[in-house]
Amino acid sequence: MTNSGYTVHVENLTRMFGTFKAVDNVSFQVKPGEIFGFLGANGAGKTTTIRMLCGLLLPTSGKAIVAGYDVYKDTEAIKRHIGYMAQRFSLYEDLTVRENIEFYGGVYGLNRKQIKTKTAELLDYLKLWEHADKLTASLPLGWKQRMALSTALLHNPDLIFLDEPTSGVDPESRRNFWMLIYELSEQGKTIFVTTHFMDEAEYCHRLSIMRDGKIVELDKPQSLKQKYKADTMQDVFMKVVQKVEA
């Protein structure tokens, strides 16, 4: 375990698929408690980067320390210290809310008593007691997303990866979701999030914009808007991507 004061410390990270450089010499650091936004066009390399940081994919070269552990050597330790919410809803639809929580509690090695208290805690927190024994498939999308987030938090990870967490969710539920994220950040948890909703990108403390495997901008949303003289992140994004194109 190495301690650099950063939750995520990436230097010159590169990943090739055959001759294609999906991620090209990327460097950045994320502080504890930070909400770090990860933007980019389709195929810009966001998902590949996240998968490397989660230990799902080995880098071709470069350095990456996640929650104090090396992505080359300590993938098992990383997995114990991060939470991950995939782009596609990946809880079991044919299990009830309670069963999903119990299952993931078990997977993360909580004992029976811990699982019981955690389940109660989460059901309280999500206000899902009424629906605890209903099949997950029957819940509205907004609740499913919150449930997915909570199960990703079961083992109390320091760092949480969210891959397009609010796609298709109604505006109100999206705000509820972001309130949860702010609370987590205040508790000192680091949030790493990707999104295509540019208004949502502004919720982040800092943003990075990727294009063709490289990080081309990395700053606070406000500073980016000033730098590109734009009113919205949408405009910033368009300008950043077009600038690189030209």
């Binding site: 991060i82 809803f89 993360y108």
Partner: protein
Amino acid sequence: MNQILLSIIKKEFWHILRDPQTLVIILLMPILMLFLFGYAITLEMKDITTVIIDHSKTPHSRQFIEKIRSTDFFNITGFNIPESQIEDIFFRRQARCVLVIPSDFASDLQTEMRTKIQLIIDASDPNAANFINNYFAQLSMRYNNENNPRLAMPFSVEPRIFYNPDLKSDYFFVPGLIAVLILLISALLTSIAIVREKEIGTMEQILVSPVHPVQIIIGKVIPYTILGFIDSILILLVGHFWFGVPVIGSIVFLLFALVIYILTGLSFGLMISTITDSQQMAMMAALLSTILPTIMLSGFIFPIKSMPLIFQYVSKIVPATHFLEIIRGIMLKGNTLLDLKVQLGYLFGLAGLLILVSVRKFSTKLE
């Protein structure tokens, strides 16, 4: 027991119970297939429609006809039709053979070494025709021996048939079907298990958690072993009580052998599921790679000894070959563990090897 493993097992059971339609199919399909195959595949023939033309019309010829009538092999459907209609009768499938007793039947029987009668058989199904011919030849020889005073037999062969004295083909086929069905079901169950999670995206979430492949794989094998075991018991019950196949050896030993065999099937399915990417592919692979070799190469229908040499070697690899020896051995011969240790050992080793390969093949990375 390991907490993570326990969670996976529990979850797998939830999946099984949440989907009652699939569960019913899993439990009923083998029994349905057993009935279908049990009745469709049979080497015994019965009720062969027969027309007799008696030109002799003597007490002897009537006695001979009575002999034929008393078997349930022949079913006499017509008498003394004009000989010009014989072909017509075959053509319209009204009879499968026609027996013509010549007018000098009675006198030949008393005076000649040979008594001629004519049997005309519809050979559009050559196997059946052959069977009819043999059966009739036996029947007429016995009649000849009893009634022709000029024949004195120098010796006679009296066969004694062990383990299946009535030569019932059910005894032969039911254990074989059990072997096919159990392997098929268990390979199917697990082949889908992992691929399904890859397809719906839940595998990604599992992979980012600190779960070891061994835990995932064992966690999937155990629930399905139990399901496969219940299935096997159902099949055995139907085989025993409906088709009347005996269990001469130890039932406990039989159940033990079944568990080993189920494990072989499950681990085979697992291996398929670690190397395929879609449920469809996994299912096709499981079906083809279990049904074909089990039916063709295990000695289930075609005797191994009459196969080309290369196939004889291949049949040694097919798990069903060994299981057939085990199950026939226990059910029909009353073999014990010691008699079948080689076959059991092979199945056990194969299951272990396949699980090992699955764990190695199972990637915790997304590539």
